[in-house]
């Protein structure tokens, strides 16, 4: 655990009773991470003791490991006229191979269980025995829109396992890629919500902005989804002055269009009516079920993994942490909107100091000694954890906890009692991905 940022405590349960949420438990159960939200630090516990409640949280993270299974938040509803309305796994409303089991007596969702595991490809099993560089090809293809946060967290973990420091320039590249992808994802989520509300002009403009974010990624890293962007020596990774000018110009245009669009969209009563008080997540539920990312921040918990133990470049830059109180779909929209602004600002600062970032290129990780590394990163939908063991330059095991896994229980809870038509507004606002869940 060479990367600091968490406090190690003795075996058992972390002390104190403050606001705390479970962040990760290794598959072997030999260690766990808890987020201490008051002190804004992470507690690492060896041989942890989990309460029944925490075991339920853990069960949901691991749902779908062996074929389709449901994420359950505990209650089962029966009653006169109540039946199960199956949705998916083939449905354009989800546009991914994943489903929902809706318990209803008609019109109203009494209970909803996301059905995950349809897309389980077994990535973490398959990369065992590969070199870190090879394994990264698989890891980044776990979930296309989150490729860079996965690749970065995986590499950080592997580097930490090998006990190798990361060069400043390398940190800059990873931050740049992740912030660009964050912008894309937030724009995409906003576009999906606008589409759901039949705000067709707004949706078209947001989709166009999302496409221009993809094009900016493509122009900067050679790949629209950032696959291979963090490979040492990959083409297009060296940002020369003209490239930086080009990127700055693209983002400036994107920013100004987004500002105008945000004003218009959030000024639309019909849009606000659909997302306000829809899909509400209480602070208590968010902490209990281990919500992460914009979901957590929209429920008034200020947690952003970029600030937990800021490294370069975040250490030297202004990183706004956006929180909202209402916990509804509108709150998540507002958080995402502010984060698009924040990421644009961060990239601007980063490009300014780009020439001053030292350290040159990263070299492939070739650890000989057996080691284990845990790394976290703030992905677009929330923080993710990678737990990697390496020896003789090869991967021995990979485990992870992704933001989508952490947020499904909140998707289910937020829809309880809602009417069918609220489904899209609530579901889309979480930005949850079946691909990222299933792995």
């Amino acid at each position: 655990m060479s990367r600091p940022g968490w406090t190690e405590v003795a075996a058992g349960r972390p002390p104190g009773s403050g606001a705390r949420s479970l962040a990760y438990v290794s598959p072997e159960g030999d260690l766990a991470l808890w987020n201490d939200h008051e002190e804004h630090r992470t507690l690492l516990v060896r041989r942890p003791e989990l309460s029944a409640e925490e075991r339920a949280v853990l069960g949901n993270w691991r749902a779908g490991r062996s074929g389709p299974a449901v994420v359950s938040v505990g209650e089962q509803v029966h009653g006169y006229g109540v039946f199960t309305f199956p949705y998916g796994p083939v449905a354009m409303g989800v546009a991914e191979a994943g489903g929902f089991e809706v318990r209803t007596y008609g019109e109203r969702i009494l209970e909803i269980e996301p059905s995950v595991g349809h897309k389980r490809r077994g990535i973490e099993e398959q990369v065992v025995g590969k070199t870190v560089e090879d394994a990264a090809l698989w890891i980044e293809r776990r979930a296309g829109p989150f490729a860079l946060s996965h690749a970065a967290a995986f590499r950080f973990a592997a580097e930490s396992a090998a006990g190798r420091p990361v060069a400043e320039r390398e940190l800059g590249v990873r931050a740049l890629g992740q912030e660009l992808q964050r912008i894309y994802n937030h724009l995409h989520v906003l576009a999906r919500l606008a589409e759901a509300a039949s705000q067709n002009v707004g949706a078209a403009q947001l989709n166009a902005l999302a496409e221009s974010a993809l094009r900016a990624l493509g122009a900067t890293f050679g790949h629209r989804w950032g696959f291979g962007a963090l490979v040492p020596g990959a083409p297009g990774r060296r940002l020369d002055a003209p490239d930086r000018t080009d990127l700055e110009a693209r983002l400036r245009r994107l920013g100004s269009e987004f500002e105008a669009l945000g004003e218009t969209l959030l000024g639309s009563r019909t849009f606000l009516d659909r997302i306000q008080s829809t899909g509400t997540v209480s602070t208590e539920d968010a902490l209990r079920w281990g919500a992460v990312g914009p979901t957590l921040r929209a429920s008034s918990v200020a947690w952003d993994d970029r600030l937990r133990d800021p490294t370069i470049p975040y250490r030297e830059m202004f990183v706004p942490v956006v929180t909202e109180r209402a916990g509804d779909a509108l709150a998540r929209v507002l958080v995402r909107r502010e984060e698009v602004r924040g990421s644009l600002l961060l990239i601007e600062q980063l490009l300014d100091r780009w020439p001053r970032l030292g350290g040159g290129e990263a070299a492939p990780v070739e650890a000989i000694e057996p080691g284990r590394g845990i790394a976290r990163g703030e992905g677009p939908s929330g923080d993710l954890v990678y737990d990697v063991r390496v020896s003789e330059g090869r991967i021995r095991s990979v485990a992870s906890r992704t933001p989508s896994q952490a947020n499904w229980p909140l998707v289910a809870l937020s829809l309880r009692g809602a009417v069918f038509t609220d489904f899209a507004f609530s579901f889309e606002s979480f930005g949850a991905s079946f691909a990222e869940t299933d792995g």
């Binding site: 993809l214 094009r215 122009a219």
Partner: protein, 250 residues
């Protein structure tokens, strides 16, 4: 509000591409999305490390299998060059195997379905990373504007002419894919998009992979790439619609 929408639209101007009337530019088809082919170098003379570095074994001594290639670009420094246009990503399964690293000549796949140029498209994901899904759905955005070509996404396979399959079929998705194809009215066509849907791509050996898409439903046309660029997917859908009116696809 209408005024402000209009004002913004006027300020942004026209974004829509002129593809397919003119070839795709690098903005629309970045280098990494292009099919790598043997340029000046003969495949046989490539150093063995290049073949070994290919994560999916797409490069052999005699051919490059574009269907297997995941565009990781590891082979490009060795002298392979990206193909210039989007249609290089298209073909039957055999048509994607490039002998000596060069696109095969001759006709494309035999037409299976009789479809007109206006198509309704249904997307089915059988185990993708979501990248292909988003590239396909992205065809509706103002940059590509599928609708200007008389094509639409539908919400039910009952209304679909073209089934776009993305992802590597997992055990849980084999039957759903078959049922989706069954639910479509004839005539219908299947477009397999992305390396995963062609031959498993990077997940060819993955424990979760159950079958190839072609073993579950009859595939009319493949679009190579990881993920393919939107223009390549558009080219593929257009090719299906062109069959009756303008002869076989490339």
């Amino acid at each position: 509000m209408v005024k402000s929408w209009l004002g913004q639209a006027a300020a942004i101007g026209i974004l829509t591409t002129e593809f397919p009337r003119r070839p795709a530019d690098p903005e629309e088809l970045p280098a990494a999305a292009r099919a790598p082919g043997a340029g000046p170098v003969a495949l046989a003379s490539l150093p063995p490390e290049v073949r070994a570095a290919c994560p999916t074994g797409a490069i052999s001594l005699t051919e490059i299998d574009q269907g297997k290639c995941v565009r990781c670009a590891r082979c490009l420094p060795a002298g392979l060059v990206p193909a210039p246009d989007a249609s290089a990503n298209l073909g039957s399964r055999a048509g994607l195997r490039w002998p000596d690293g060069r696109p095969p000549g001759g006709t494309g796949p035999a037409p299976l379905a009789e479809l007109g140029p206006s198509l309704h498209v249904f997307l089915v994901d059988v185990g993708s990373c979501q990248g292909c899904n988003l590239e396909v759905m992205g065809l509706a955005n103002p940059y590509y504007d599928l609708h200007r070509l008389g094509m639409f996404f539908t919400n039910s396979p009952r209304h679909a002419d073209v089934l776009v399959v993305v992802g590597v079929p997992t055990a849980a998705m084999v039957e759903p894919l078959r049922r989706t194809f069954e639910a479509m009215p004839a005539p219908k066509a299947v477009l397999a998009v992305g390396a995963c849907a062609i031959d498993g791509g990077i997940f060819a050996e993955a424990p979760g992979r159950a079958a190839a898409v072609g073993e579950i439903v009859p595939v009319d046309l493949y679009v190579a790439g990881c993920p393919p660029a939107p223009v390549a997917i558009l080219e593929g859908i257009l090719a299906l619609g062109r069959r009756r009116s303008r002869g076989p696809a490339p």
